[in-house]
Symmetry: C3
Subunit: 419 residues, 3 copies
Amino acid sequence: MLDTTDTPLKALIRRRKPGYSLEAPFYTSPEIFQADLDIIFGRHWIFVGVDPDIPEPGDAMKFDIGTNSIFVVRDDDNEVRAFHNVCRHRGAPIVHDYKTTVGNLVCRYHSWTYGLDGKLLFAEHMGADFDPSCHGLKPVHVRSLEGLIFVCLSDDPPADFDVMAAKMAPYLAPHDLKNAKVAFEKDIIEPGNWKLTMENNRECYHCAGNHPELTVPLFAYGFGFAPEELDEHGRKEAEDYAKLVTSSHREWESCGFPSECVEHLDDMITGFRTERLPLAGDGESHTGDTRAACKKLLGKINDPRHGALHFWTQPNSWHHFMSDHAVVFSVLPLDAERSLLRTKWLVHKDAVEGVDYDIENLVAVWDATNDQDSTLVGYCQEGARSQAYEPGPYSPHTEMLVDKFCNWYIGRMAEHLGR
Amino acid sequence: MLDTTDTPLKALIRRRKPGYSLEAPFYTSPEIFQADLDIIFGRHWIFVGVDPDIPEPGDAMKFDIGTNSIFVVRDDDNEVRAFHNVCRHRGAPIVHDYKTTVGNLVCRYHSWTYGLDGKLLFAEHMGADFDPSCHGLKPVHVRSLEGLIFVCLSDDPPADFDVMAAKMAPYLAPHDLKNAKVAFEKDIIEPGNWKLTMENNRECYHCAGNHPELTVPLFAYGFGFAPEELDEHGRKEAEDYAKLVTSSHREWESCGFPSECVEHLDDMITGFRTERLPLAGDGESHTGDTRAACKKLLGKINDPRHGALHFWTQPNSWHHFMSDHAVVFSVLPLDAERSLLRTKWLVHKDAVEGVDYDIENLVAVWDATNDQDSTLVGYCQEGARSQAYEPGPYSPHTEMLVDKFCNWYIGRMAEHLGR
Amino acid sequence: MLDTTDTPLKALIRRRKPGYSLEAPFYTSPEIFQADLDIIFGRHWIFVGVDPDIPEPGDAMKFDIGTNSIFVVRDDDNEVRAFHNVCRHRGAPIVHDYKTTVGNLVCRYHSWTYGLDGKLLFAEHMGADFDPSCHGLKPVHVRSLEGLIFVCLSDDPPADFDVMAAKMAPYLAPHDLKNAKVAFEKDIIEPGNWKLTMENNRECYHCAGNHPELTVPLFAYGFGFAPEELDEHGRKEAEDYAKLVTSSHREWESCGFPSECVEHLDDMITGFRTERLPLAGDGESHTGDTRAACKKLLGKINDPRHGALHFWTQPNSWHHFMSDHAVVFSVLPLDAERSLLRTKWLVHKDAVEGVDYDIENLVAVWDATNDQDSTLVGYCQEGARSQAYEPGPYSPHTEMLVDKFCNWYIGRMAEHLGR
Ligand code: FES
Ligand code: FES
Ligand code: FES
Ligand SMILES: [Fe+3]
Ligand SMILES: [Fe+3]
Ligand SMILES: [Fe+3]
């Protein structure tokens, strides 16, 4: 617990009404944004990239979590390490490019030189009393879950990452992300608080009206619906969809692809959810024609019709794994009213662009969908600025996961601030 | 009263010296800007546009007061209604364009649909317990004074709007604004606090040195002057001007155009001032050649020489009504150091562009004058940032209305904050 | 003393560890930036320009110190005066251009007119009770030290300016700055706190790795070094350099050019340091070929090999005086994370561009060096934003002057805030 005195933030947390969106300051207040950085992004496992971002020893990638610059680097023993990107002399950054390859890590200001393990190897003119062993780069906790890289800025990272890892490894393993490559990646800055980006991701109530591309491969009945609003035809379609899910799960599980839903969105510190779901049309991938975008399939998969494995994590990521490609999304907060959405499309490392896959076709659905979602996120940010905004009710049929995201968020804040 | 404790703002209010400009924090402090939004723009009648902005049922116009997005819409019964532009589900805006025409009001996020009266007509998937009647758009108080639209964000708007309306209606009626059209409109962002924009508007001490276009139709002696500084020639001119005002008023009043000065700038909550004044040269209009800019005159006016009816309101508007056209100005605060000035030029709705009027000629004087004033406002904003700035004395002969604006402002703040 | 209560700033000041860089808030906090403006830039002598910026009566130059606009003007008696650039009526600026020439000082808003001595000469319409003698421009303390202009915003400027002036005048006199002209000047905005700009200036540990142009005229051994790291060859070179300094000083002093080091960087309120040092190569100037950039030498100097006289002041300037030209640098804080570096290159006033000197050659070394330093300053600013940043150790052999800058800064803050 940080603090035992009462604060406006604690009062807001205490009075949050389940089933409703959050009060406006959670989306607009710079003070709460700072608390989000400290508590949510400072003490939980944050998804930041993939093993294929740094495939070889000496490969490094830097990124920002709040105002902290961090980099991951593959050491000579092939392990991924993470460090604060801050020279121990006068604080200059060590890694200047998003991605780079280095022998040692040399500061540009006064040439202090560190090894890939962060140890200070060389510092000129520092005098006889200077102890290099006290001046290594500060390490950051890092884990790779079947190729998905998470870091935690806390000295005491949540231990239940292991629970998630144990549960998720069999789901992810067939897609063999470590032997994939990043075919394309794109950053967009969404004009909203990071929580609005997450909430937008956690429902498809808005899909029918806003995502013409995404609704081609997705089944409408997978978005949730109010049973009482269905006519006879609708009821029949909903039943057919439910049967398809059951039969697909049975088939996929029998050939080594775990599929059933696992949900710990608001009952674990490292909250997550997964499920493998069938796709519409030809049923192969998140593409404009529902067919695989890459001829060479991921890992050892040989049938393209394995639906899409969805993996959601709290607080900042979601992932779609198809037979032919995977799309991974990382949300990084910029300020109370802006967030970075970093999206990477991965294919088998041996797939050849122009032969096995075409970038435009590969990225078309999610590139368009991200832009649409960004606009929607901006709408809610605008609304939160108004004195007329008040928390509105979530649909009990289509916005349950949004509610769970908020539950998790409020719970984690309460845990650290005291109730 | 918001608060009974003493604050720096209350101390500043208490020690304001009449006859002098305000202390610097009134122009620069983000906290006082927030108080201005709450008290001045949140509890008084704010001029936002004209009936001809939304002439037909379904026509809507949105605008911002501080961080509140609001829209006015003409309902099917031809009444103007105003609502907070915030969906009751998750807060997205309902109206996205400055001006638009709609059947119903449909939210883009999850398609909640409201009537022009703000009632929630349709919301999918919300479940059996959901009560649409509790989720209508939040209304905003709105009044049209002979075609000038004012809104008030408070639940309890100042009642003396009726006093102003009763007094002003006969002055405004002959110009028949409801049967006019917006021939041109323009927004500029002035680089200063909204009060500096208002203060600049409330004196013409600066006109001789800064407004070459405006000083053509205006009489110099109408700006005020120190009698002791006049030579014999000047005294004669000043007397001639005073006689012209008296004779013009007599003539105009006799044919149904109320003209005499009414001033309640600092003795009413809804402060205002009006007067009809003669114009120089050919005496017809605020144009480069002092002739009417529009052949078709407003309402049933048949003589172009009716001078200019001026109407000033506290806190945020001024208006000039000539025989041929009207110009209306709305000041909307953006932040402590920037303000939106929205200007609309109106002519008879049946006047034909290119035949009856030419836009360039119509807008020339006030477009140039606004730009000059914006520069002057920026000068005072620069000054207010300096530790050397201190309130300076207003001229007792040319800046009386500036002083009354400040008196009104200080009085309204004191009323709401406690003295 | 401003305040006797304890504050986070006072705690930070008290716990500063000598020999180490400052804690992060000194570089990032807007509150500490404000304290820097009040205490450091509001109560010390600030270098702002040179006599040749305003050579003739009526010449004026304006500049900002924090949010204060100030101008210097040469009065008809040839004296330099300084005033707050704020009209005493409603605060508009009086001088609008960086440099200008005026007869009287006329405000653009309502034409109030002041003399070059700041007296209000004319103000229309102000009525019989108005006293012009109470409404003159507010003066600012100003001193010219052999052509270097310093101002102090305090009513009670540090008296030890006279000590610095007495000590420095003989060093500066031979370069006769008052008879020089500004051949070129350039502003750059450095992406860092002003103290990082100063710290960067106070060491050359970073020169070898970052300044390919500057290291041509400078001797590497002049940057400082750890003796224990030298091999035999290095020891010999270091000894040779020490001998060269001694012999040069003897020679220069004998012909009227004081040269020995005077250092009061952290033991005076008006802290400063000076030394005349030999240059490498042909030894004449800070140029790409180490030769004089201007054929006509400064003052009455007739031998170009007089090395470089360095003059550093606390808190915001440094200067290099060669035989042929001088370069003067002024650091002006913009916000916690940005600073203006204003650099002026001066040659003899009778030197003719294209004949005696070529601008590109004149400015090449310091223009490139400033850009390189600006990048380095930005690096440290980035680092200071990270939670991983902590004060790092200064090299006892190459960063002593950085430490003294920090000592001076901390001492001055402590003096005004109380310890
Ligand atoms: S800041 Fe890295 S070596 Fe000096
Ligand atoms: S936010 Fe308007 S319908 Fe959901
Ligand atoms: S502000 Fe300078 S004359 Fe009015
Ligand atoms: Fe979406
Ligand atoms: Fe004006
Ligand atoms: Fe440098």
